[in-house]
Amino acid sequence: MTAHPAPTADAPPAAHAPEPPADPVPGRAPRRLPVWVWAVPPVALLAAVFLYPLALVAAESVAAPGGGLTLAHHADVLGSESFRSALGTTVFVAVTSTAGCLVLGFLLALVVAFVPFPGSGATARFIDTYLSFPSFLITLALLFVYGTVGMANGMWTDLTGAESGPFRFLATPWGVILAEITYFTPFVMRPLLAAFGQLDTAQLEVASSLGARPLRVVREVILPEARPALVAGGALVLVLCLNEFAIVLFTGAKDVVTLPMLVYQAAILRSDYTTACVVATVNAALSVSLYLVYRAATARLSSDGGRRARA
């Protein structure tokens, strides 16, 4: 270092040399804010109203009683029977609902896109509207039909004179799954209809003139084209189902305890914030990792479209 004192001494003038021409009017200097400055207000706002509370939740879940960090709460909660059961229920309900949405959504989208019937355009538009409905509305509607005092049970008791009807599945995991499939199927149909809209119908015609029956056309021509849309729609629905709270609450299924329900019970009913925070962080981690899968799938979807456009 001491061997080269001169360059170090020369460096500042050399570094400053280009500056005067770049900044000829001193009065304008304050206006030249670095670009990142513009990002400060939104990031600060985000941090204050969103990231900070989120960090509090995360911190609470690892806070040791005497200060410092501990994973003891995590170990306690994750080891507890109620958490394991809730995780199992959550995954079972979410995966089954998603599978149901994919099958039903694919079939319905096929009909809407490829079977010409009067009102198929209106149906497609209705699906867009349906996406904006609150999820509890669907559950409420199902309660009217299949609830303990709903129409189906009412008809049964009227007809047979029995005390109560046989339709009790709404308060079971299957009731939650039915409600979630009913509500989330359009979330699968939307990207599918977009994918089908890009499919050249001449492909389907050529396939059938080559001797392929409808089932083979669906399996070998339509399904491969729809795969990215199915992955994207499925991942989205899986994330939404994992976090779904209103549907589970509205079915009144006391035995169906999912992770969001566990958070609600711990935090609101028992004021056990530590447990609530642990469950919440696990739930959030699950969601975020699934969201990353969803992003990867949609990125592939759009790059597929790009390749096709170039071809």
Binding site: A202, V206, A207, S209, L210, G211, E220, R308
Partner: protein, 351 residues
């Protein structure tokens, strides 16, 4: 296997898109359905493929009524303008698709795929995906895919329309060669391009506004059209107003002999007629018959000059080869033609 349209009509709601088409394509024949858009030509092809159901009439393939058969049971090969290759399959998988769908034994598929790709010179591209191919190459693959199932009937729907001029001309030669090499395959070829129809087909059916206007060999349609629409659409003819008076045809000052055999059927004295003259049969200067006109437009087309003159307010176009000094616009010219080159037609019905 021939194709027969037995009084086929197709309608969407109240719109008749194909009106009572009665047409036979002989086994091994190459028939072009030629017409402008909306003429019903694609509908006719789709009726053979099974994608539209006739409101009335029957479609027969090889003498068998296929009107009620679904598309997959008809055994026809089909090539469309957009190629419609399956994008997620490689070229060889695309070609194998029909073979697998038809239950060809697995051990035969590879050989048949190679044979079909060989026919269009695409064997080297078997492992590529469609997106890695040019438009012309994609269309070759689409043709291979249709031929792989060894169809007796090949349906081609505007197969060259998406290609640029040079490729189109190459593919035209390619299709002509395939037709020579596969003499048993009956081809129905839909196009709006008269040069494709004249080059490839041994029969041309001209359709306009849902109806068959004329059906014949390319030579007949070009040299001796019987409908004014055909004369205009196939090769672009001058259609000059004329009137039959006293057994002779008076046309813009020229008077032509009219042998009864030359007159359109049913023409009688006092009828309005049209004189059909091909532009390349009209010359400058004196001839058997002449028309006097004022030049309104001169276009240089490389090998020819296209001179349009107004004769009695009616434009007459002459295609002049190697004219050293084409007439100036505004100058008066004499346009000559011989009786042999003039065809007498009834006027087109108003659209």
């Amino acid at each position: 296997m021939g194709i027969r349209f037995d009084h086929v009509s197709v309608a969407y709601g109240d719109t008749v898109v194909l009106d009572d088409l009665d047409l036979t394509v002989d086994p091994g024949g190459f028939t072009a359905l030629l017409g402008p858009s909306g003429s019903g030509k694609t509908t006719a092809l789709r009726a053979v493929a099974g994608f539209v159901r006739p409101a009335s009439g029957r479609v027969l393939i090889g003498g068998r009524d296929v009107t009620d058969l679904p598309p997959y049971a008809r055994g026809v090969g089909m090539v469309v303008q957009s190629y419609a290759l399956f994008p997620h399959m490689r070229v060889d998988q695309n070609v194998a698709f029909g073979l697998r769908a038809q239950g060809v034994p697995r051990r035969e598929v590879a050989g048949r795929v190679e044979e079909a790709l060989g026919m269009t010179g695409m064997a080297d591209y078997a492992r590529r995906h469609p997106r890695e191919l040019s438009g012309g190459q994609q269309q070759r693959v689409a043709i291979s895919r249709a031929l792989a199932i060894r169809p007796r009937v090949l349906l081609l729907d505007e197969p060259l329309s998406a290609l640029d001029a040079q490729l189109r001309s190459d593919m035209l030669a390619e299709l002509a060669r395939l037709h020579r090499e596969l003499p048993d395959v009956t081809v129905l070829y839909v196009t709006h391009d008269q040069s494709e129809a004249l080059t490839l087909a041994d029969r041309v059916a001209v359709l306009d506004r849902a109806r068959l206007r004329e059906h014949g060999t390319p030579r007949e349609l070009y040299g001796r059209p019987r409908a004014a629409f055909t004369a205009r659409f196939v090769g672009g003819a001058n259609l000059l107003p004329a009137r039959l008076t006293g057994g002779r045809v008076h046309c813009l000052g020229a008077v032509l002999d009219a042998d009864p055999a030359d007159l359109p059927p049913g023409a009688s004295d006092g009828d309005d007629l049209r004189v059909c003259l091909r532009p390349h049969r009209v010359a400058l200067g004196e001839a058997e018959h002449t028309l006097e006109g004022v030049v309104s437009d001169v276009q240089w087309r490389g090998s020819t000059h296209r001179v349009t003159a107004l004769v009695g307010g009616h434009p007459v176009t002459a295609e002049l080869r190697e004219t050293p000094a084409p007439p100036e616009p505004g100058s008066t010219v004499t346009l000559g033609f011989t009786r042999r080159d003039a065809v007498l037609l009834t006027p087109e019905e108003a659209s």
